[in-house]
Subunit: 181 residues, 2 copies
């Protein structure tokens, strides 16, 4: 986001059809809440198209990638790998370390699983992080963690090349055509 080091989100274990909406929401949440890039596995071309389409219309910069080897993305990541899991350490105990890493210009990769995540991901991760130790939603965990990592700065992010821009209103909807700007 802006001139900060790269923050990327990798979605592991996507099952076509069944996971399409959840995977799409992971991608859109990554984009809206300050990440620079989302990486999907080989069978997630449909969610990738949706997130690209939103980026085309509502602005960027934001990159969407589909990879044949998600594991290689983790293995080769030059920076911090943070795996979000209900079995990990409380986010409130770890968020200071994550912010410090970002301040030191260390790129951060968040790994978000669908169903069961292979054990070597737990071992490779620099941090296994839990947003509560309760079962809920990988989308919720990602959202809370990004909001805490960026300390709310992501909410003021500005978007480039947006065809349309929503203008906040207390009641109703206001959308401006910004395609000519």
């Amino acid at each position: 986001m802006n001139d900060e080091p790269e923050v990327a989100v990798l979605r592991l274990g996507h099952r076509p059809g069944r996971d399409d909406r959840m995977t799409t929401h992971v991608g859109l949440t990554a984009r809206a809440l300050g990440a620079d890039r989302v990486v999907f596995g080989p069978e997630a071309s449909s969610p990738a198209d949706t997130v690209r389409d939103i980026t085309d219309r509502f602005g960027g910069p934001f990159d969407v990638e589909v990879t044949d080897s998600p594991k290689a993305v983790i293995r080769d990541w030059d920076g911090l790998v943070v795996h979000l899991t209900m079995y990990g350490l409380p986010v409130q105990d770890v968020e200071g370390d994550l912010r410090e890493a970002l301040d030191d210009r260390t790129p951060v990769l968040f790994v978000v699983g669908a169903e069961k995540v292979p054990f070597d991901v737990y071992e490779r991760a620099d941090y296994n992080v839990a947003v509560t130790s309760q079962p809920h939603s990988e989308v919720a965990s990602l959202a809370v963690t990004l909001d805490r990592l960026f300390d709310g700065r992501e909410l003021d992010r500005e978007w480039e090349d947006a065809d349309r821009t929503v203008v906040p209103k207390d009641t109703g909807k206001k959308v401006e055509d910004t395609s000519g700007e």
Copy 2:
């Protein structure tokens, strides 16, 4: 949560099958992040069963309701109605008001739509609130808003009558059988 005024989440516009997982994630996120109750529409019995099952196993108190008239829940709510929508006012501008209401012991109802939300919901809501003006996920919006409303206190919530309890670990998984306690 604990001795605070009631915080409930109402899921509007659920479509059976198509929305089951998203609606389930709304319910589980509400539970994990400090709400006291989730209310689903008439066709969401399957997500309701899943959230009840998780509450049975991982603890409460947390109530799951299915109603024939979600609109009546909004109309009759004795407290603040907060509709989460990308068209609303920025959460960072409104969160102080919400925290103040909770401090004044005002119950808060969050309304979370699936697809298009009827206009009268915008009008009835005391606040229409946006977690960014970007399209992303109602689960992410709910998570960030609850985390900000409770100022992180929800992460330390204690659970009663849990059959199993996850113990945070830096690597791997540890689950304790707490059914005998």
